[in-house]
Symmetry: C2
Subunit: 312 residues, 2 copies
């Protein structure tokens, strides 16, 4: 069965034409910065056409960055998509413009976790926690082979668990959340604050005004920059605390770590997270923390997997 | 169907003869302090006889304080039972001495959570976290109506999640675990340490050498004792952090708080835990934190529920 999977990101759209998770073709577009949900719908339709159009696929799946009302195709909130203010029935709108082909929508992190579980680093495992470390920190929990969404669709939000009570301010307004320590955006805020207080750091030299990318962190680390080392140490420790909590609560054997920052910092970063997690763990669980295996395409491949379920 | 449920505790054994969770008779005994597992088996057999003997029941269930190998009746570890050093096939040993009646064994906290889910404060809820605050802090997670045990049987151990990195030493050797802040034993250690450093406290006056019971904490709190107030504040905050983490990870709507200390401190304590949890929560979940409803008998009633499943 041929299906199309779309990874709808804050800066780009990635699409694949796939069969059983095997990628036959891929394409990409920039995410429109103007025009809100309708412009995003047009961009997705255009990307589907680049991949052969609705006739080429039995169904389309979309992984979207936000809160999806389970089973409805409605994106209730998507703070990282420009101009996306109100809930929007993305699935229905796309299906209308794609000759009625079925469209499934789920959270981007959930579909990436599904892909890693079905085809990637957690293949064959009953239970998996997937953690994606990028601009923010996303997570997803698969138990007994089933994704845990929860009644409001918010399950898995490991980025917003408290790793240090009364700690650093998170982008969401909370305090001491994992994302404040281990998300690229939180680390960038911290680096600029330290620089403003007089700490010298390559991080700001390399990204004086523009976004402090994962590559910037990697280069500063490689250059022995003290602030970068400190920030990554704090990120590793915070990830260890949060992951250990999830492992203890749920008795997990495998954790997958992916996302832009983790991909860029590589296996050594993931190995450090494994050590930090073990140091906080209760019990002698034979825990494995492994890098995600599908890289940048995990979201689009995962979206193709939910499309398969939606196909007639 | 008549079944017998036994709650095997560190100090006492509570038993019920029950039908569909409805208690027809109850009985108790002291937990033997000598003789290890075989003495415990004899005490359980005697308690079963007090409740009508094996002929009166289609099955027997036991909730035991320790790590149970799922589905085997083997208690792998039970650090709170005197002389219980090696793994012991409690289910098989009991069945032999009880004319072959089927015996089911599960963790004491798991069976108490099952009872609260089936008949108590979480009746009718799909997902529940149950937290039992007593000498230690135990927990159990029910998702979509099913108890999450995990491959090693350790799931739900909320007492050993890290609420403060590098924080207070836990009885298990870890640092900053919930149990170190919110378990009665951890609070007692802390109270005695503060007193040794010169802080005056009713807690030590009321329990100079003997165990600092939940009643001692309640009386010191009622008397406005500053150390007791401080310890309970810390416990509430730690419980809020740990429970919020579980709620965020799993998207839970209901949390039940029971156990000796929580029962003794009452609804106000549970209400404070609800507030502390909400203050750490991500998202607008309509979270309810409720006191356990079955009190001291929850373990024995829960044990009767697992007996029903084991009955022929």
């Amino acid at each position: 069965m041929a299906v199309i999977g779309i990874d709808l990101g804050g800066t780009k759209l990635l699409g694949v034409l796939a069969d059983g998770g095997e990628v036959k073709a891929d394409a990409k577009q920039k995410t429109p910065t103007q025009g809100g949900p309708l412009a995003v719908v047009d961009a997705i339709v255009s990307l589907v056409k680049d991949l052969g159009g609705p006739k080429a696929a039995d169904a389309v799946g979309v992984g979207a960055p936000g809160l999806i009302v389970p089973g409805t195709g409605v994106v209730a909130r998507a703070p990282n998509l420009p101009g996306w203010v109100d809930p929007f029935a993305l699935g229905a709108a796309l299906s209308d413009l794609l000759d009625g082909v079925p469209v499934a929508v789920d959270n981007d992190v959930n579909v990436a976790a599904l892909a890693e579980h079905r085809l990637g680093a957690a293949k064959g495992e009953p239970d998996v926690l997937a953690v994606f470390v990028g601009t923010g920190v996303g997570g997803s929990v698969i138990l007994d082979g089933e994704l845990r969404r929860g009644p409001t669709g918010l399950a898995g939000e490991i980025g917003h668990v408290v790793v240090r009570p009364d700690g650093r301010l998170c982008g969401c307004g909370g305090r001491g959340h994992l994302e404040a320590y281990a998300g690229r955006a939180g680390m960038e805020r911290r680096a600029r604050a330290l620089e403003a207080k007089g700490r010298d750091t390559m991080l700001v030299d390399l990204a004086p005004a523009k976004r402090m990318t994962s590559s910037v962190f990697a280069r500063a680390l490689a250059g022995g920059d003290a602030v970068a080392i400190e920030l990554i140490d704090e990120a590793v420790k915070a990830l260890g605390v949060a992951i250990a909590t999830a492992v203890t609560l749920l008795d997990l054997g495998v954790v997958i770590v992916g996302g832009g920052l983790a991909d860029r910092l590589g296996a050594k970063f993931v190995s450090r997270i494994e050590q930090a997690t073990r140091s906080q763990l209760y019990g002698e669980a034979g825990l494995r923390v492994a890098p995600a295996a599908l890289g940048d395409l995990s979201g689009a491949i995962g979206a193709s997997l939910i499309a398969e379920k939606a196909a007639p």
